[in-house]
Amino acid sequence: MSARTRDVHVFRYVAVDSPVHRLWAGTKLLAVAGAGVALSLRPEWPAIALVGALVVAGALVARLPGGVLPRVPRWFVVLLLLGGAAAALASTKPPYVTVLGISWSGGALEQWVRFFVLGVVLLGAAALVTWTTNMAELAPAIRALLTPLGWVRVPVDDMAVTIALCARCLPLLLDDSRTMLAARRLRPRPYYDSRRARFRAELREPVDLLVAALTVSLRRAHELADAMEARGGTANVTTGRSRIASRDVIALAIVAAVLTAAILVPV
């Protein structure tokens, strides 16, 4: 269990140099958002295939090693197969296929697979951003993308600073959560006289864990606040360093072309 929880950093920056890594973070965010919209508009095979191909191409250009792919837990695979089988066995959607003497609904199976693949493609697109974008570049990029909101008095600067701080603190808090999960396993398991007492104790546990997590995190927050004040506050936190380069224009053009094709292509 804990060996697996320690593997949570699957969605982490992969430090290699590639054209995708060098893209402005905002470009990649726009591309992922666009892919989401396109697939929601046309959740069909041609669109899924086009966007999927774009993600795979991106991963290849980014020179990502195959090891970045997360290992799927067995219970997930089992659930997936069961769900697909149930849908195919039960549905009356044509065409029918007869295997092992049972008639299966090919239409339902197709839908099940399509639904799943669509989710994988969208998750893959988001993962591609995480694998190729240093967290440090994220906040400035989002700040730039949010600029129009600043014109209508949305506190975009506060948002940018908070995103930067969130990105900074996430590794610390993941570490704490790992320690807490381990500590939970190490605690002595008391014996309960009744089922009721056991139930009460089981309800109490998440409360205790949350209290500890929040207390520790807020302490940390106040130390961070001290550190920010010691640097003269946040008013000057410069975020305007990201700039669109020509490679970003090219990348956006390619993405836009593929997404348009995905939306317009006839079934």
Binding site: T5, V10, F11, V14, L29, V32, S40, L41, P73, W75, A86, A87, A90, S91, Q111, W112, F115, L122, N134, L138, P155, D157, M159, T162, A164, L165, C166, A167, R168, L170, P171, T179, A182, L186, R187, P188, P190, P206, D208, L210, V211, A212, L214, V216, S217, L218, H222, E223, L224, A225, D226, A227, M228, E229, A230, R231, G232, G233, T234, T238
Partner: protein, 696 residues
């Protein structure tokens, strides 16, 4: 409308550092819980818990902080887990915001649920219906999916003979799908009511128990333009020489003054050491020097404190990982500086000056404690400060790192920087330093420090007995097969015997913490084996008493008594358990968060010992303790060795702490065992080199 909801002057103000930090950290906790909800098989319940940090945020801070935090969380959730994670984060975040808003106004449960549903439901339902209307293909696909799943169930029901039930279901499902624009919002309303109820109940149990120690005295108020608010902070920087006249300082809501009519002068260009016992007012003195508002008295300075501004005041704190703000080393050095000032800073030269040459593009989360403190120093130096206040910045750093940091601090005085260094280690003071001793809020200038306390070490009754823990050619690799693959240990073989105290030494990243996790059975060794009494340690999780450095994460019940209740149910055994670690029984009823760090560690030790464990593994038990707490803990461990046959493994990066009562020293470097010898027979300088905080 505008007159009913006036836009107060507070409403338009930018977020203060405290608001920003609390928003960022609590939103992060919420995100982590959401991710756990996705990863763990029994995850559903985790999603509701992810609302609780947002409840705490909304109950503690302005609405602006909550909104900003939620937007930031969305951005991060989108990056980390795509649309799915973002949607679950937003759902529970918004819910938490409303529940927290209710807490703030002391609403009852019914009212909280009613208001939340009344506000959130119409918007949520409208968004869902609109989205399903626009993305009609996706809608059809989803509904087909629902229909397929149902017809499967119906077929099974029919085969079992429940024809009528199946038929009723057919009718309901097809009717629901036909009238989806009505049914979906109705279901959403029901789910919303249930989830809000659960979130409210849960946070009602959690939030009141979250106490974050004493209210922090803010160093200064940042106004809208980011300038400091107090009059002493405006204008030309000139923090030294500072002459304090009858300065009284009090933390908000506390009866006792932290500093009581203190008068002293901090001269330019000196190294001033501030010492004194815990809670005497050392930190208060450093905060006052950095511009915290006084209750009475005056501080005469030639100019402004100018905290964090060029040529003003810079400050270092105790905890290494909490004062680094940038994700990358390079960003952290100039964090908070004006753009012009930031571009003028020669980051690489500064890093070289503090011994971090070539690390500019590293991520800060990969640095060791000593490196982080030197990075904090670099960012202080980026401001060319006239006054540098170091509030126990050496407390959490190992011996070698401490010496290095102190040398750097002392060196600054030659360039005219005044350094005020707060420490509870008397050994850090040089004869030439200015010396201020703080005791119960009063300052005694130039007073000699008391002699360093020494632990009296009891002699063990018997020599080491039978082997308890055996590590046989063990190795461990994190994230094998991925680009983040990292080997922490290889070919480690050692044995821990009954009644023996083993000190595991190594620098940061040497694999010593991984070894502690392996010994406790929390990790499966990638190669080799770790045996507890001849059986795999992983099959006996909990048998080895493991104490993490951060004891608070292991002390979960509200009081010491509650924490020990499982292992010491009656008063007599409780008193005995506490006495074993040198704690007074009067501590039993106190809230965990009212204990000092040293007391927390000892309370945890009491619980571990009361289970009758035969092996203790302590991860950095001395880090961050002051001299008195250090000696008290050392004495407890030494007594344990003498009176009980408990095998103890102390994991440390500090040679000085555990050597007096250790039997054997095990040294790790880069995951390999490089030393395994009895105390007394090894070469001290070689060991110092082992833990030296220097990277190749």
């Amino acid at each position: 409308m505008a007159s009913r909801f006036p836009r107060g002057p507070r409403g338009a103000r930018r977020l203060t550092p405290v608001e920003l930090a609390e928003a960022a950290v609590l939103i992060d906790v919420s995100l982590v819980l959401c991710v756990l909800g996705w990863l763990l098989p029994y995850g559903g319940a985790f999603f509701v818990t992810s609302a609780v940090p947002v409840v705490a945020l909304a109950a503690r801070q302005r609405l602006r902080a909550v909104v900003v935090g939620l937007v930031a969380g969305c951005a991060l959730a989108f990056i980390v887990g795509g649309t799915g994670l973002t949607i679950s984060f937003v759902e529970f975040g918004v819910l938490g915001a409303f529940v927290g808003w209710g807490r703030r106004r002391a609403w009852g449960r019914a009212r909280t649920v009613a208001v939340t549903v009344a506000v959130v439901w119409p918007i949520g339902a409208a968004i869902t219906v609109a989205a399903l209307q626009v993305f009609s293909d996706l809608r059809r696909l989803t509904f087909d999916q629902v229909r397929n799943s149902w017809s499967g169930v119906a077929r099974i029901l029919r085969n079992l003979g429940f024809e009528q039930l199946a038929h009723a279901g057919d009718v309901v499902v097809s009717w629901s799908i036909r009238h989806w624009y009505f049914v979906i919002p109705a279901v959403e309303a029901l789910v919303l009511i249930a989830v809000t109820w659960v979130a409210q109940t849960l946070s009602h149990a959690v939030v009141p128990r979250v106490v974050v120690g004493r209210p922090h005295a803010r160093l200064g108020i940042t106004d809208r333009d980011g300038r400091r608010g107090t009059s002493t902070s405006d204008g030309q920087a000139g923090p030294v020489p500072a002459r304090l006249v009858d300065v009284t300082f009090r933390y908000p809501g506390e009866a006792r003054a932290a500093l009581d009519r203190v008068s002293l002068t901090v001269e330019t260009g000196r190294f001033v050491a501030v010492t004194g016992p815990n809670g005497a007012g050392k930190s208060s003195l450093s905060r006052v020097l950095a511009g915290a508002a006084l209750e009475s008295g005056t501080i005469e300075r030639p100019g402004a404190v100018a905290l964090g501004r060029p040529h003003g005041t810079a400050m270092l704190f105790q905890r290494p990982e909490s004062q680094v703000l940038g994700v990358r080393v390079r960003d952290d050095v100039v964090w908070g500086l004006r753009y012009d000032d930031a571009t003028a800073v020669d980051v690489d030269a500064l890093l070289a000056q503090v011994g971090l040459a070539g690390l500019a593009d590293r991520e800060t989360s990969t640095l060791s404690g000593g490196e982080l403190q030197r990075l904090a120093l670099a960012s202080a130096l980026a401001r060319a400060p006239a006054l540098l206040v170091s509030d126990e910045s050496t407390a959490m750093v190992d011996t070698a790192g401490r010496r290095r940091l102190l040398d750097l601090l002392r060196g600054l005085t030659s360039r005219g920087t005044t350094v005020v260094h707060v420490t509870h280690r008397y050994g850090e003071i040089d004869p030439g330093d200015g010396l201020l001793r703080v005791e119960r809020g009063r300052v005694i200038a130039g007073a000699a420090p008391p002699p360093s306390p020494e632990a009296t070490i009891a002699v063990p009754v018997a020599g080491p007995g039978a082997p308890v823990l055996e590590v046989r050619d063990a190795g461990f690799v994190y994230s094998p097969g991925t680009p983040w693959e990292h080997r922490a240990l290889q070919h480690v073989t050692t044995t821990v015997r009954e009644g023996e105290t083993v000190l595991v030494l190594g620098a940061n990243g040497s694999g010593k913490s991984t070894l502690a996790w392996l010994l406790a059975g929390l990790l499966h060794p990638t190669e080799g084996e770790v045996l507890l009494d001849g059986d795999a340690a992983t099959r006996h999780v909990g048998a080895v008493g493991l104490a993490f450095q951060h004891a608070r994460l292991q002390l979960l019940r509200p009081t010491v008594r509650g924490e020990l209740a499982v292992v010491a149910p009656d008063e007599g055994s409780l008193v005995r358990a506490l006495a074993e670690v040198g704690l007074d029984a009067s501590i039993a009823g106190r809230p965990i968060d009212a204990l000092s760090g040293g007391q927390q560690r000892r309370a945890l030790l009491a619980r571990l010992l009361a289970t009758g464990t035969r092996v203790l593994v302590l991860d950095e038990p001395f880090a961050g303790l002051d001299d008195d707490a250090r000696v008290a803990l050392a004495q407890v461990l030494a007594r344990l060795r003498a009176t009980r046959a408990v095998a103890t493994v102390v994991v440390s990066h500090d040679l000085d702490d555990a050597v007096p009562f250790a039997d054997r020293v095990v040294g790790l470097r880069d995951g390999r065992l490089v030393l395994d010898e009895p105390v007394g027979s090894f070469d001290r300088s070689a060991v110092s080199e082992l833990v030296a905080d220097v990277r190749p």
